[in-house]
Amino acid sequence: MPGILSIVERAYHGTIEEQDDTILWLSHMVKNAGADLSILLRSNAVNYAVKGQDASGLSIGGVALSVPPTLDTDVVALSTAGVTVYVVEEDLSDRGIGNDELCDGITKVKRSGLAKLFDDHDAVWHW
């Protein structure tokens, strides 16, 4: 049985200042520490799985953000590291996000399948 299911639903909160999403980052660190971990993107956070995001070009008070966040490649990096990244299928369709817009390696799950997904994990971390 997989260990931890980490649920991310708040999206783009502080990502510019942090240069990443804090929970995706923490999840990657926890994975690197040896955890058996999966991620579920739901609500607005499903947009993290959309490829081709570009947050470059920001400057405030003449101070440029030279290294912008790259949420889509962060999601791919998690998948490459062995983290299964689930997205809620209806949350994608509610936002008009099609399959061809998603990064590789994403696993879709229906809302009706969430209870089983939770049950399939030892722990659920709902951020």
């Binding site: 804090t22 008070g61 101070v63």
Partner: protein
């Protein structure tokens, strides 16, 4: 504060650094206003008093394997210091940190520019500004 005839906007903030997209949006509004010649008054309340902390420091990113220099981590204090440069004279940036919020957080070490104040400053700002934008925490 602005002289008669000048445009100004007052912005009240509550969110701490690194936790909200609204902070980035507010800083962008301030940048745009100042570049358009509109003075900006900011009342930083509760966690927002940490936005101007002098000790904010960049760090490497162990997930990406980048160094401090490569990561070039931004900070709200650095952005706001840049805004103070834009708003040094006319247009003018005024930034008030709520003093009691500062005390309860031990958050008194700021960059140059902000001053200590209280809710009365927000009221005064709002009375003297063309408009007021309240950005509460959610």
């Amino acid at each position: 504060m602005t002289t008669s005839g000048e445009k100004s906007i007052t912005i009240a903030l509550m969110d701490p650094p690194y936790e909200s997209g609204t902070t980035t949006t507010a800083l962008r509004i301030m940048d745009t206003a100042l570049r358009k010649g509109i003075s900006v008054n900011v009342f930083a309340y509760e966690g927002a008093v940490n936005l101007t902390m002098r000790g904010q420091a960049p760090h490497p990113n162990p997930v990406k394997g980048t160094s401090i220099e490569e990561q070039d981590h931004p900070s709200t204090a650095k952005f706001i210091a840049g805004l103070f440069t834009l708003g040094a004279d006319s247009p003018k940036l005024e930034w008030v940190n709520c003093g009691l919020c500062v005390d309860e957080r031990g958050a008194g070490e700021w960059i140059d520019g902000p001053r200590r104040g209280g809710p009365g400053d927000l009221f005064k700002f709002s009375q003297e500004s063309t408009n007021t934008l309240i950005i509460g925490t959610r």
